[in-house]
């Protein structure tokens, strides 16, 4: 990973995250949650807590969905 970062040129070459790509769902989820809750909440002071809550639920839901889909695929292939 560190070796690959040596040849990484920001904005030109892709980020060498071949084995860690799944972690990129977290910033994306946080971004979607912050924008969505900024639009929905009447007061901006509620946004951090509600965005954190909805991010947590989205990530847990995605983990559950991934687990269920993995079990279905394994059941079909076996």
């Amino acid at each position: 990973m560190i070796t690959l970062l040596g040849v990484y040129h920001p904005f030109l070459s892709p980020l060498p995250i071949w084995d860690y790509w799944a972690w990129l769902v977290i910033p994306l989820t946080l971004g979607v949650s912050v924008v969505y809750k900024s639009i929905r909440c009447s007061s901006m002071s509620h946004v951090p807590r509600q965005a954190a809550e909805i991010s947590f639920y989205i990530i847990i839901s995605m983990i559950l969905a991934a687990g269920i889909l993995t079990m279905i695929v394994r059941a079909i292939s076996s």
């Binding site: 030109l12 990129l24 924008v35």
Partner: protein, 206 residues
């Protein structure tokens, strides 16, 4: 007692001060602080929101909301380009080597000689855009996407004429998908913000 409470809340509401008894947990609603006038016209708010993500809310006087949304959308877009490289902005109407995609346009009156050729984006705009539908989401992020599109097309061109290798190679597989996802989601969130800010501007105007 009840009447006194309502009178107290009405006074606090008129003063735009926090009140624990109000339904919005003691904070003044966004509508109370919205601006009115020429700069809050819905079309202007929508255009401003596209040019600079979150600027529509700034025109309405909702600074915190506008800055939060704008910074988040720009962060997602720039993160997408950082993850997948500039070539995740895949511009319709251009080949992988940055050349204009040319199509033959049949001319029933011209039976002899070479058929006229035209840029695909001009000949079949909708069909060309639908070949790369993720660009529709990306371009909603604003002029930052247009600048990235220019850099992407320039980077796709080979260093030497006739060569078949781009100056900036495109990314592949999951990294390309994630970069595209980030940039397209940023644009779609900006569309959400544009619609919401325009709606708020229209509601205030009426």
């Amino acid at each position: 007692m009840v009447n006194a409470h309502y009178v107290e809340c009405a006074v606090l509401r008129a003063c735009s001060a926090p009140c624990a008894f109000l339904p919005n947990n003691g904070y003044t609603s966004a509508a109370m602080t919205e601006r009115t006038g020429f700069f809050s016209a819905p079309p202007l708010v929508a255009v401003a929101g596209w040019i600079v993500p979150g600027a529509g809310y700034l025109l309405l006087g909702q600074v915190a909301r506008g800055v939060t949304i704008g910074v988040t959308i720009l962060f997602l877009f720039i993160a997408g380009v950082l993850i997948g490289g500039i070539r995740v902005i895949d511009v319709p109407g251009f080949t992988s080597l940055g050349e204009k995609k040319i199509v033959i346009k049949p001319d029933p009156d011209k039976l002899v000689g070479p058929s006229p050729r035209e840029w695909s984006l001009r000949a079949h705009p909708l069909q060309t855009v639908f070949e790369k539908p993720w660009y529709v989401g990306q371009v909603l992020a604003g002029p930052i996407c247009l600048a990235a599109s220019y850099l992407s097309v320039e980077g796709a061109k080979p260093e030497n004429p006739g060569a078949v290798v781009s100056r900036v190679p495109p990314s592949h597989a999951r990294v390309w998908e994630i970069g595209t996802l980030y940039t397209a989601v940023a644009g779609m969130l900006n569309l959400l913000a544009i619609i919401d800010s325009s709606y708020r501007a229209g509601r205030k105007a009426t």
